[in-house]
Symmetry: C2
Subunit: 150 residues, 2 copies
Amino acid sequence: MPVEEIDRRIVTLLAADGRMSFTDLAKETGLSVSAVHQRVRRLEKRGVLRGYAALIDYDEIGLPLTAFISIKPIDPAAADDAPERLSHLTAIESCHSVAGEESYILKVRVASPLALEDLLNQIRAAANVSTRTTVVLSTPYDHRPPAIAP
Amino acid sequence: MPVEEIDRRIVTLLAADGRMSFTDLAKETGLSVSAVHQRVRRLEKRGVLRGYAALIDYDEIGLPLTAFISIKPIDPAAADDAPERLSHLTAIESCHSVAGEESYILKVRVASPLALEDLLNQIRAAANVSTRTTVVLSTPYDHRPPAIAP
DNA sequence: GGTGAAAAGTTTCGGCG
DNA sequence: CGCCGAAACTTTTCACC
């Protein structure tokens, strides 16, 4: 059962402004407040809306260094439980399983180069992997909301 | 002027739940509702809180294919205006300038392999770059909120 | 899906430490 | 100067059509 027109509009609006009120969502969609409310709750229950987050400036909270870390198991036959083995490391913001040369791509946020070095050692030890790190210099844009699909 | 203890706590709480009410933030921080309100508005004005977003399940909105695209200018002396040249492509969720072999890493969301092919052609044409694409197979976790810094 | 009214949340503001 | 508390206003929630 696919998400149809009006639900997709609600999702898109909330992706762009996670704190938009039901009143404003109702105006934008032409529905009543309670109908919008009902749909949002249903979308949350179905998992289409997975949650809400403030977008924050990591420089300002003492985590100015962002990096992508690609990882590859040392033992090619190793069980692929790297995500669980690494999940306790709170510097890791996301973990994607990927096709290609490496197995996973992690996005991490740390305070300093030294903290990155420390994190890399922890990752290698915890998951028995080799790592390839790409340091982010700047972020022209991030978290752009999806375009409304036709 | 760094963000201190109590502000960092507010930011962390909102990063984990972008719709948390001022009342709940007040309870968590031990401040009054109006004091929390004041601090949140100040953090927004300063840009520490950059906005709010719903976290969405892209499978459900018809964009089930995620990929990372690393790009490199064809002409090494080219002006580095790739981000602006690409910003009209709404499939691109984020753009990071990076150190290393390539110049930028893009994260994209598309409907299908065919849509990805089309996007790659548009990227190459718009920014005069070569591309290297890593397809995401699954995402064990994403958008984990930052740990409260000491 | 809509209505309406009670409950809850947000915003503003005068005054206090 | 930032914090508090209360009043004014807005949004959310819920029972019922």
